[in-house]
């Protein structure tokens, strides 16, 4: 009989830049049981929303997640637009769809890099993150920010897409498409990648259903499940794209689904740019919303995002509830870890693509009136000065490290 030991991993996790705590029970090197501890980052956003107006809530909701910011703000707005009985203009709907797909593009490229890094394939990590920068530059050009685009507003969007924007977007798409073809080829033919990821983090079709998996995790288990097809929102009913599924039911399958979905997103963005309807970008929206309740669904890069909003007739919601896609995918995590090796734990956890923010580079657009790009060193000294002006001198803080 092998002796069992429990290895705690986290909450300061070596792989994820986000707090979560796993208690892994091992028999030799094999995981026989796993306990998932989350909740370290609960910020009370739902309660905060109840005390603020819908407009203020939009800014809070956009910050639920750094990567899926557009997903959350759109899901929230769809709910309040249903309650207010406001239909957004077709052009605004197309622009929301465009941002949704640009977000999926950069999110999937980010994930590919993280997954490659977790298995020691740092060349691919650097390639995909280089390509992701192209998408982020386009988002910064269109919205003024790399993440948290602030494009949404109740009744539509805040910024229009101009004729001059279309060429650089198409140029970016051509480059990303070309490079993604290489990644697809690599994913499907590179034997070491398959040897490392095949059979790791197994989640069968039945288990994916039982544990309520969503997004690429569910689609890699052969489930044809995508809110964009199942319950179309924004302009997805008019978009030509394939629902990508795969039958590997493991981390390898999750790679295949995501690289193929990048191609579909590129196709959707091209369709939007070629068929952008004319007209306004925002409908008039009331400050107070009639009493009622609505459930809104959105296919975020990580899967189905659900928002429930209850209004009470005032300018503040009575209740807001958010079910982010990662929350759904955590339920199957223990099952995915069981039976695998300790060394596989980081990649299995990373394979559901739990969210973390990547905002450590900033383009300052407001404040002193001028635009400037600041690097990490400047950002750090800006932070030290900012605190010093408020009476806290961080540079004098001494860390007591035993």
């Amino acid at each position: 009989m092998n002796k069992r030991i429990v290895v705690p991993i986290g909450p300061q996790h070596p792989a994820l830049k986000e707090p979560a705590c796993f208690h892994i029970t091992l028999e030799g090197e094999k995981v026989v049981a796993a306990n998932v501890g989350i909740g370290y980052n609960h910020r009370g956003i739902e309660k905060a929303c109840e005390n603020r107006t819908y407009i203020q809530d939009l800014y809070i909701i956009e910050r639920v997640c750094g990567i899926c910011s557009h997903s959350h703000s759109t899901a929230f707005l769809q709910a309040i637009e249903e309650l207010a009985g406001v239909a957004i203009p077709p052009r605004a709907s197309y622009i929301r769809t465009l941002f949704g797909e640009l977000e999926r593009l950069h999110s999937h490229l980010l994930w590919l890099g993280v997954a490659a890094h977790e298995v020691g394939f740092d060349t691919m990590f650097m390639y995909t993150w280089r390509d992701r920068e192209l998408v982020l530059d386009i988002l910064a050009m269109l919205a003024g920010n790399r993440v948290n685009y602030g494009i949404n507003t109740p009744g539509g969007v805040r910024r229009d897409i101009e004729e001059k924007d279309i060429r650089p977007i198409k140029k970016m798409l051509d480059t990303v498409e070309e490079r993604n073809k290489y990644y697809i080829n690599l994913a499907l033919t590179e034997t070491t990648l398959h040897a490392r990821l095949g059979g790791v983090g197994k989640l069968s079709r039945e288990d994916a259903l039982r544990f309520g998996a969503v997004g690429p995790v569910a689609r890699a288990a052969g489930l044809a499940m995508d809110v964009r097809k199942d319950d179309p929102y924004a302009s997805y009913a008019e978009m030509p794209f394939k629902l990508i599924t795969d039958d590997h039911c493991d981390v390898f399958g999750r790679v295949v689904v995501r690289v193929l979905e990048i191609m579909e997103s590129i196709g959707i963005i091209r369709h939007i740019l070629d068929n952008l309807p004319p007209g306004g970008i925002a409908a008039k929206f009331p400050r107070r919303i009639p009493a009622g309740e609505a459930v809104s669904r959105y296919e975020a890069p990580r899967g189905e995002d659900i928002h429930y909003v209850m209004s009470n007739g005032s300018d503040k919601p009575e209740r807001v509830k958010v079910r982010a896609p990662s929350e759904a995918n955590w339920h199957g995590m223990a099952h995915m870890l069981e039976g695998d090796y300790l060394a596989d734990v980081p990649i299995i956890i990373a394979a559901i693509d739990p969210c973390y923010s990547c905002t450590d580079r900033a383009i300052v657009l407001a404040g002193d009136g001028g635009n400037r790009v600041i690097d990490w060193k400047q950002l750090r000294s800006y932070s030290i000065d900012w605190h010093r002006e408020r009476g806290v001198d961080i540079s004098k803080i001494k860390l007591n490290i035993p």
């Binding site: 306990n35 009370g44 309660k47 039982r210 544990f211 309520g212 319950d231 009622g292 509830k321």
Partner: protein, 185 residues
């Protein structure tokens, strides 16, 4: 086949109303793909829930939402069927003794939602598996449930982890609020 009949919201409503006459006129279709039921207490709720899951094919569980309605708490069960129609079933439970039965054995993905009900609303979920609390931190004071409407974050002191609402308290003067606010940055 029964399944082929279940692709239409009206048909689903009439099936439920036929089986449970007390729900006559208490189901509404707000828009395509969204069905809403009126709140029911446990005795009436569970037969409706079992019928929806077992016979109408609403076997995809999405999430739970807790609501503070004053005298009662309500829990919304968001379910969907193979045609992607979402059905929202509401269970009421009295504020004095708020208890609901766990659905974790049927839907393993209800775990974090049920733990949330216990932590954030103080609704006891019977049959919930043992495990760490979620999402409030260890050391959070007993009996403090932040999503209840009468819970105000302004009165929570993060340093001492105590909740100090204004009003007369044994051995303490009313009006200590300003200090508390100052401390709770």
């Amino acid at each position: 086949m029964e399944d082929s009949l279940m692709n239409n919201e009206e048909q689903i409503i009439s099936r439920i109303e036929e089986k449970f006459p007390f729900l006559q006129g208490k189901l509404r279709c707000q828009r395509a793909g969204r069905l809403w039921a009126a709140p029911l207490f446990a005795a009436e709720f569970w037969p409706v829930f079992d019928f929806a899951v077992g016979e109408l094919g609403f076997d995809n569980f999405h999430m739970l939402v807790g609501l503070d309605k004053g005298e009662n708490f309500e829990v919304i069960y968001l379910l969907s069927n193979a045609q992607h129609i979402m059905l929202q079933l509401f269970q009421s439970t009295p504020r004095q003794n708020p208890v609901v039965k766990s659905i974790n054995a049927l839907f393993p993905n209800s775990l974090f939602h049920e733990r949330e009900l216990e932590d954030l609303f103080g609704i006891k979920v019977e049959g919930l598996p043992e495990g760490p609390r979620y999402p409030l931190p260890d050391g959070w004071p007993d009996g403090q449930h932040p999503l209840r409407k009468d819970w105000n974050p302004q009165y929570f002191d993060k340093k001492t982890m105590t909740y100090n609402p204004p009003g007369p308290k044994a051995g303490e003067e009313a009006g200590g609020l300003a200090d508390k606010e100052g401390a709770a940055i």
